[in-house]
Amino acid sequence: MSEAQAPLHHRFHLNMGPQHPSTHGVLRVILEMDGEYVLNPQPVLGYGHRMQEKMAEARAWPGFYPNTARMDYAGALHYNHGYCALIERLAGIEVPPRAEYIRVITSELNRIASHLLWYGALLLDLGAFTPILYTFDDREQILDILEDITGSRLTYCYFRAGGVSRDIDDKFVERTRAFITRLRSRFPMLEKLVNGNVIFLKRVEGVGIIDKDMCQRYGATGPVARGAGVPYDVRRAEPYSVYPEFDFEIPVGENGDSLDRFLVRFKEMEQSLRIIEQALDRLPDGPVMAKVPKKLKLSPGDVSFAVEAARGELTYYLISDGTEVPYRMRIRVPSYSNLSVLPELCHGMLLSDLVAAMGSLDLVIPEIDR
């Protein structure tokens, strides 16, 4: 069925969202359809836009800490990390090594939590209800660990320019180690239940193929690019924090289809566990907060900082005019670029495949509507 030949009177519009079970938030996609074939999906953004960039321009820079977590509720610590590191880069603050290690450990825990959430949500999109409860079970363990150290379960406000707001204790180390063992023992179960399932494989194999060229043109990063065989990971490409000290692999896919993106994220969880293990083994002693003046004026100029968030490259770009208040803040969020692939990706696809492809992009809507 060639969609180009579809006569005009066969075409109709289908509104998917803003309230739809598989748009994971208030995303609306206007689908131009021919029968069950999607001809032209056009995402409509802005239903939950909070103008975070304007908020950043309206308050002294420490006042933006809590906002960072509200952009990506599934991977809030990466947003914390990017912002704090940006300020550190601009102000030339040296972070104590212990704080950097804590940042890496908690960030990677958060990455796993985010991937576990996505894992369940994708399966939910594909109509399997049970895996999300299994992954939530594991994710709860991470949230408990992080709650104990950061004080909140989801919208963390833990990192500060110059370090972290609270030191970790032996209990944290112990619980994290226990969690690593636990999650490793859970992977085979998930593999049996989902990764090998013939219905699942048929739903994602060859669906939504994104190649390297497409990633480049759209700026798609993170697991979407890695699924397309591009070994681009900001942790490697532009090393920040103490990531260069750890030994980890960057899993890549071959075909760039939904299955590859799925497998990349699945393998990434194991790599994150490896990083956490190494960091726990080598955790240095010392302070967790550098000396930062109470009132710190940002020197004029522009500065950019990229981190690898759970969904891809997150770049904070700040233009300062020499006061405490940022003059302009731009946040390049990974889901935004990843979603913009959709019209080209899903052209001529079945509606069911669109759901699978969109699920494999791992969209977090508040991040897009920041």
């Binding site: 390297k212 990633c215 480049q216 043109r217 700026g219 681009y232 900082f305």
Partner: protein, 170 residues
């Protein structure tokens, strides 16, 4: 570093000024000042060199709004920052056909600043509702508006001679 030099050479032809900057301090490698009309040429070079689009944004400074482009590379550590000012009509040529990923960034910039991207295939409001098209929420008020020079890095005094050398050659 040598790879950055390659790009530098390629970009030199279309840019007003190309300045390599200290990555550890600013988070990118190359600052490229562009003429309004050469943005597309710049984007094409970036595309041919294998860069992917980071973001497109604007900043409201006096005398004219600046539009900024960030590109990064999948295979090498190189981040390029391009900027240009809008013309008298508040317009900049679009790069959405070279980098489709810039499409939404440009629409968003149009929403927030009113910058018109000439040649853009679909410059409809992306985030703002249709009735608020002219809200331009990120424009600075008269009081807060700063001069373009006020948001630049102060010229490092020691490095001035070395930085000026390639520019003089041109």
């Amino acid at each position: 570093m040598r790879q950055t030099e390659d790009v530098q050479r390629a970009v030199q032809a279309v840019a007003v000024a190309v300045t390599p900057v200290e990555y550890g301090q600013r988070g990118y490698h190359l600052l490229v000042e562009l003429e309004n009309g050469r943005v597309r040429d710049f984007a094409r070079i970036m595309h041919d060199q294998g860069y992917f689009i980071g973001f497109v944004t604007a900043v409201h400074v006096a005398p004219a709004i600046e539009v900024r482009y960030q590109f990064a590379h999948f295979d090498r550590q190189s981040r390029v920052m391009g900027f240009t000012t809008v013309d008298a009509a508040g317009a900049v040529p679009t790069i959405a056909d070279i980098f489709p990923g810039a499409n939404w960034h440009e629409r968003e910039t149009r929403d927030f600043y009113g910058v018109v991207f000439t040649g853009h295939p679909n410059l409809e409001p992306l985030i703002l509702p249709e009735e608020d098209v002219d809200l331009k929420p990120l424009l600075k008020s008269e009081k807060n508006l700063k001069d373009a020079a006020a948001v630049r890095w102060p010229e490092p005094k020691v490095a001035e001679d070395t930085a000026a050398a390639p520019a003089a050659k041109e």
